[in-house]
């Protein structure tokens, strides 16, 4: 195609908002987790083959590829250690709700084999948060707890019941206690 004029043609643009709604029932494992959470208990699930405790329960072990049942459910403590963290400076994008820098920490609960990600750490200046910090869940008042934030496809959320984790005041956990989980 030859360009017969010297005028630059403005590119033609089209806006297209893709908006898709999904209505899902939480699977049985997530229902057990959410209901226990509202009662102030954190549920994990132990694989009888590898003895790992997954939080929340998946009703299977992804490493041994075996189905698990409610009989494999175990309760874990609401205390643990910060294994890793970052301070996120919010970037503006469609759907962003955060406006102020916030702590994004991974917490290894006592008794768990994996971390809870994306947790806020409160009761301590952000620049004092560090790996090894011993923390305990700051629960919402019973009347304010809900199954909000759970999804059938997510990594498990405690946001509807636990607003953040705060320091217990204990000495830091030794690195060996959590270094397997720093990534």
């Amino acid at each position: 195609m030859s360009d017969t004029t010297s005028t630059k043609v403005e590119p033609v643009m089209m806006d297209h908002m893709v908006s898709l709604t999904y209505v899902e029932d939480l699977p049985p494992n997530t229902v057990r987790f959410a209901e226990a959470l509202v009662e102030g208990r954190i549920l994990g699930q132990r694989c009888p083959v590898c003895a790992r405790v997954f939080i929340p329960p998946k009703d299977y072990c992804p490493l041994d590829v075996v189905e698990l049942t409610p009989d494999n459910d175990v309760e874990v403590a609401d205390t643990g250690v910060v294994t890793n963290f970052t301070i996120v400076a919010p970037v503006r994008y469609y759907g962003q709700t955060k406006t102020e820098p916030f702590v994004y920490a991974s917490v290894l609960l006592d008794g768990a084999s994996g971390t809870l990600g994306g947790q806020d750490v409160s009761g301590i200046p952000a620049d004092k948060v560090h790996a090894g910090l011993r923390v305990r869940a700051a629960w919402k008042p019973q009347s304010e707890r809900s199954a909000e934030g759970q999804s059938a496809r997510g990594w498990g959320s405690v946001a509807g019941c636990i607003s953040s984790f705060e320091p217990t005041g204990e000495p830091d956990a030794p690195r060996e206690a959590y270094e397997e989980h720093t990534i």
Partner: protein, 353 residues
Amino acid sequence: MPATDIAIIGWSQTPSVERSALTEVQLCLKANLAAVAAAGIDRHDIGFTCAGSCDYLTGGPFAFVANLDAAGAWPPISESHVEMDGAWALYEAWVRLQHGDIDLALVFGSGKSSPSNPTELYPQQLDPYYLEPLGLDPDSIAALQARALLDSGKATERAFAEVAARSRRSAKSNPNAQLSGDTDADTLLAGGYVRAPLRSHDLPVYSDGAAAIVLATADRARQLVEHPVFIRGIAHRIEVHQPGSRDLTTSPSTTGAARAAGHNGQAIDVAELSAAYTPQELILRESLGLDDKVTVNPSGGPLTANPVMATGLVRIIEAAQRVADGSAHRALAHATNGQGLQHNLVCILEGEQ
């Protein structure tokens, strides 16, 4: 160069239900565990895994990565994924096995349709400039195809209803079917149009479900199972996307895929066709040259069980089942992708000669 003989040695599908309480991963796990057990192998013997699913159907970006929990991705495995029906995952695994360095592959397909509305979701798979802005939904495209078929004189609404009635009756013997029952064309034709000329019986059900197949090279297959089902040929062809740019009353891509898969008019005992709409079965029969001697969709087909993204893989399973149990010597399985039979895959299955 002749292709290496590949056989189907194990399979499983979860029962198709309108709404499952389980996650897609949990459904895949059930199908995979059962298929691997049926094949008599250890999952660590699998040389390649390929899955078919659709993140948009799941509503989760990279949902297909989470589905890998169902394949046991530790220690690390060699795997691939297609954003398509599991039948295409099987095609990729078949190609992979041609290299000759591995002898076992696991294939699975899955989808939960229950959380979404096809009318809202499916236009996203269409041309974003000319079709999606019109909200052109899948029933409407199928109806345009149906109208064209009626106008051509090649079919009647009664013929559509007979496909539906036969499919529901056949599904009575399928424990995995979602819809089944005794009915007849007259009863069905009394219903009103949903998308003229289509009535509700002309449309597919939508199911939550997963299916899995284990493939093996010929020698390994014979060591493992008594009745390996050999893939004699498998091929796929695609047509132009715009519905107004092709003849909706024919399926040249199905004819081309069948020919490329080695189907040259030989007798077919059973054909499992991914005809989600009744007129499409008639179009596919004609494009494949299937006469009345062929048993079509003894499983009931997608009109009775339609786990989208596994429906085509289930056709291969249903065809393989009948070859393995001796009720068919040569079977044809068909899978489709896109709307209005735009893209078609044909697989020819046979027992040991």
